[in-house]
């Protein structure tokens, strides 16, 4: 696996391998070994043409814990914001000797354009491209769900996940649907009809316009951020109607099982798609998602950069006796 551009780049066993690796890295790097030498001497560039403090810091922390050198190339004040093309930026990075580029960009397909081009030769990791995908977010979401609801080494068979919100514009939704389905989960998307793309019938999930019936029996509820701009584009009449039908409020929280996880990729619009008591309540794993993000991103960097180029993950035979 040379790049991580889309969840479709991963086979089921590779996805599980990333989760397993992340699990071990979480134990090790939060505990005994804060810093690992594994990527020493490698240069990783954060190419963030779109603002995102949270994701960028997460990748930066992941890279540094593996002893890689990190160079940050972010939107504000950089040449990208002044209109330098992706091609010119990429050629500059190549000249700087980047082993990997983590790219966050407002255009769908930007990560693939970078990977397919001959402008640079490092590994490309998609940290969010337009409304297309955000693979590392889906992996950390799956990691979080698995940690609470399934045992290590296993997939997510039979786990019922409900994803709610602006699916049409959500790269998080696209990656999550692909990954959760790949891992055997039962996924339902809930949204107003205006925010579901044409062609969604071909996605590996169910759809529903009714939040209240969809959450019955759900094991995890993932709320997507709804952007203020959508209101002027007539996807729904106003914020009040949106919250009423699609917001996770205390009434809906009461219906959830005690073990149901409440999730959100952040940043949240408190009061719009999620109320404070849902976000801060006992079921919420929203803060944990963020810390899981570092371990998962360490696992991704490990998979792409630690071994020989373009290899499948080599598994050592799992031990029969547990230790």
């Amino acid at each position: 696996m040379k790049h991580l551009l889309s969840i479709n780049d991963l086979s089921k066993s590779e996805a599980i391998a990333i989760l397993d690796t992340a699990q071990e890295l979480a134990r090790v790097s939060d505990g005994p070994m804060k810093k690992l030498p594994t990527l020493r001497g490698r240069t990783i560039v954060n190419l963030f043409a779109e603002d995102s403090t949270r994701t960028r810091i997460s990748f930066e922390a992941a890279a540094k814990r593996l002893s890689a050198d990190v160079i940050n190339f972010s939107a504000k004040g950089s040449s990208i914001s002044k209109g330098e093309s992706l091609k010119d930026t990429a050629q500059t990075l190549q000249a700087m000797g980047a082993d990997a580029v983590i790219i966050r960009h407002g255009a769908s397909g930007a990560a693939q354009r970078l990977a397919d081009s001959k402008w640079m030769s490092g590994a490309v990791i998609n940290a969010g491209d337009g409304t297309h995908e955000h693979p590392s977010q889906a992996l950390l979401d799956a990691f979080t769900i698995r940690k609470h609801l399934a045992k290590s080494g296993e997939d997510l068979t039979g786990i019922k996940v409900v994803i709610v919100g602006d699916v049409l514009h959500s790269r998080v939704a696209r990656s999550n649907v692909l990954l959760l389905a790949k891992l055997g989960a039962d996924v339902t998307l809930v949204a107003p009809p205006t925010l579901l793309p044409v062609g969604i019938e071909s996605w590996p999930c169910k759809i529903s316009y009714d939040f209240d019936s969809a959450i019955i029996g759900a094991d995890a509820v993932m709320m997507l951020r709804i952007q203020q701009e959508r209101m002027s584009e007539m996807f729904f009449p106003n914020a009040r109607e949106y919250s009423r039908y699609f917001g996770l409020n205390s009434d809906r929280v009461k219906v959830l099982k005690p073990t149901t996880l409440v999730m959100h990729p952040g940043p949240m619009n408190r009061g719009l798609e999620i109320t404070a008591d849902a976000a801060d309540g006992a079921r919420s794993v929203i803060v944990e998602q963020v810390s899981n993000g570092v371990s998962v991103r360490m696992a991704i960097l490990y998979m792409l950069l630690a071994g020989a180029p373009e290899g499948e993950l080599v598994g050592i035979t799992r031990e029969v006796g547990a230790l």
Binding site: L25, P32, M33, A306, L313, E319
Partner: protein
């Protein structure tokens, strides 16, 4: 393929190693056994059981995965990580006994020393191996050895343990006739 160490000899070797560890460290109080996965971890557990049989008190035992500290990672596709489980008293000021099945080039142990260094500062680090087959590439030596097995560089040493492979045996394979 020839049988270098049959099951009874393996058991005797582990028993002797356990006694030697206790002798060297004046008992089990100060020691922390860390097995290097995969088979070193099982051997560590066996040695811990034997030691607990002798001293009656529980002994600190865990595992130390060295994958992330290997110096040959870039030569093969990425390897799966094995668990690292450090027992409650940690390694700080302890006599750590690393345990592995075969000592060969010494690079695994070098990686283990690096990994250990990230975790803390032991009082001492000792090494117990079931088999020492020679051909060191680094200045590493074992403190406790089950069996010295002279081999040629083109031979392979295979350690089988009941927990994983269904039987206890050490086999030597290959080499020029």
């Amino acid at each position: 393929m020839s049988l270098a160490l049959p099951a009874p000899d393996i058991t005797r070797a582990l028993t002797r190693i356990s006694h030697e560890i206790l002798e060297r460290n004046s008992g089990s109080e100060s020691i922390t056994l860390l097995g290097i996965p995969t088979r070193g971890a099982h051997l560590a557990k066996r040695i811990a059981t034997i030691i607990e049989g002798i001293e009656i008190v529980p002994v600190q035992v865990g595992t130390l995965d060295i994958t992330l500290h290997r110096d040959d990672l870039r030569m093969r596709p990425p390897r799966a990580l094995m668990p690292t489980l450090i027992p409650p008293l940690g390694v700080e000021g302890r006599n750590v006994v690393l345990i592995d099945d075969v000592l060969f080039s010494g690079r695994t142990i070098r990686a283990a020393l690096d990994a250990l260094g990230e975790i803390g500062r032991p009082k001492s680090v000792q090494l117990a191996v079931l088999v020492d087959r020679g051909h060191r590439e680094l200045p590493i030596r074992a403190d406790f050895v089950g069996k010295n097995l002279p081999t040629s560089i083109d031979q392979s040493v295979l350690v089988h343990l009941t927990e994983l492979d269904g039987a206890d045996e050490v086999l030597i394979e290959g080499g020029v006739k």
